[in-house]
Symmetry: none
DNA sequence: GATTAACCGAGACGGTACGTCACGTCTTTAA
DNA sequence: TTAAAGACGTGACGTACCGTCTCGGTTAATC
């Protein structure tokens, strides 16, 4: 719950007063997610979220400082990262990760991420939170590449970060800007281009 | 002026009544651009644009169909594409193009493009217009790569589109999502990764 | 339209731009009055007024600066003052005026005036407007008393203002505070007490 | 403590459990009164009263059923009625009472009573409580007038209630509505008008 | 001494209304 | 016909206050 004003997960001294309802947390996030899927992030209104969650607006604003903070958390709660499975070889690991990623890119509505990217330009808190989320999603791929270096499948002096960006960047670019194809064949051709030996 | 409802530049039959003011076009675009820079795209309001341009809102909406259409045109009018100079070799051309592009990425405020990307998710007209713009900006790089094929610097069966995405994508990805470094050294290292022989 | 921000009745230089809708004025006042009667002033909400008048809240707030300013104007538009009829004698005039006044006091819901009195304590604009209204309603009785002085039915040195307060005050006091009887017989007994000769 | 849900002062059977804190009673009333004077009754909020009194809102609502009930009690606790002194003659008694009353009217902020009057229109409990308070404040004057009848200074068939209203009403009327003068000279002139012989 | 019942401060809760803002459209008069 | 000015309906925003409800913890009278 990164963007929350006071994360409920951190337990400090026993809080005084009536504790915040955990049910409300769940109901709000669920309502926000459902609405985002149904009508899109742009048309999502806090009144409607409150109404669906059976909660007052004040209860939402007690937890999240803005609409976008809520959306970010809702998104985060919904998307689990690609699993970090080890298939024994760099090629197999990469193919698995990238296929999974492209499948997700194709399925989901395209408006949540663009919305968050924009908001992050104005709201530092969202910026931080979005950065965390990106880091979290990159982690498995980073592990795959580092394992490749350890195994000797990649040179010791590989710039892992840049390699990662070269593998992910083209898909993000197509998704957000060019509208170009995103599928298995592109994965194969990109791998052939960037990592010819694999 | 791609998104305009009726482009003033195209002259059809001589129209009746008071002609549209050409000054207004300029003033509106200038005001929109200035505001976008000052307060950001998100906080830009049409009332304020009208007020700054010394123009009524109706005058704006007679020319552009929506706020985003105006912003898109304002953006377009401000950014001239990277020049299509021929330096004689693929390596020189690429280095020139990418350096220029990274320089622009570093300088400009980062909020106009993200905003348009988001809006394009909802508004097909903006989608089309944004696609045009992207195509327009990709054109010089596409020409460079095709020239490379003609010169024999690249294999004949090169997937030029994918190669282009592999060169641009990482920068877009860093710019919009990871916040990673964007500079000359990255250009060099990316070229070394994707086109080792250059 | 005393409390309006810019009274539409005062014509200064010809106003530019779209003029304010006179229909909206009427509809808003009517809706406010109807609601005040139905649910009371306290339970009257601006959203409901707007909805009933088929008007947006912004349109209301463009004309009146607050809920209370609107209520005051609505009240004023609804209550015509007691007619200033001349029955030929002080006694007849007074009996007519006071009977009429007591009848109105008994009929109307009792919450509008109390509400305005309270709000006037905090809002100087309402204060002024309420004072005007009170002056306006006192005028006929003042005329009656002054006519009594001219006719010689009252001493030349009569403190007309105080006499007026002595005739009205008891009724106001009963209405607002004691809940005491307000009827014809009280009018007679009060006249016998304050103006024994009449 | 008239409006209290369960008056602490009346001791019935000894209650079980922790007794209510008498300190809290005092602190709450003091805070309410201070706030009413500072910001006015309208802007007085229960959260702020609770905060100032160092008390929880629940503690307040355990004692008073509503904001207005609290305000009424706070008002009552602050204003002691005019003393019922016997100066030997009707004229002296009246002059003393009315002078005292006018002095209080001039001094105190004018917003507490108007507020209560309004609320009493909607809340029967406040209505009852306010009526009690009014009766309590009228009592000394009523005694004065009845003593006047006993002494023979007033006719035996005097309508004492109406006479009282004729003496008080004009001041209340001026205070709440006309904004007219309230001072010693008015007292004298009113007495000369209503009770010429005194 | 243990139990129990009512209290306590803190503060979260659902609800409701507030007054503001921006959008894109509409209606004036003037050029 | 277009222009500037500005009012219009729509609909969401985030805030404030109401009176109620949990919390963990305290304070007497009763057992």
């Amino acid at each position: 719950m990164g963007a929350m004003t006071e994360p409920a997960t951190v337990f400090a001294e026993p809080r005084r007063g009536r504790p915040r309802s955990a049910d409300a947390d769940v109901a709000i996030l669920a309502a926000a997610l459902a609405l985002a899927v149904e009508v899109g992030v742009r048309a999502l209104s806090m009144d409607e979220v409150a109404s669906r969650a059976g909660v007052s607006k004040a209860t939402i604003y007690r937890r999240w400082s803005s609409k976008e903070a809520l959306i970010l958390d809702a998104l985060r709660s919904a998307i689990e990262p690609v699993g970090a499975v080890d298939h024994g070889s760099l090629g197999a690991d990469l193919r698995h990760y990238l296929s999974d990623m492209t499948a997700r890119m194709t399925v989901s509505r395209g408006d949540v991420l663009p919305h968050l990217i924009e908001v992050a330009c104005y709201d530092p808190a969202i910026r931080t939170s979005l950065d965390d989320w990106v880091r979290h999603r990159r982690a498995p791929l980073l592990a795959i590449l580092e394992r490749g270096v350890e195994r000797g499948e990649l040179p010791v002096d590989t710039d892992v970060e840049l390699l990662l960006d070269a593998l992910i960047g083209p898909f993000v670019y197509r998704r957000l800007l060019t509208g170009g194809a995103i599928d298995e064949s592109v994965v194969e051709r990109l791998l052939a281009l960037v990592l010819p030996g694999i």
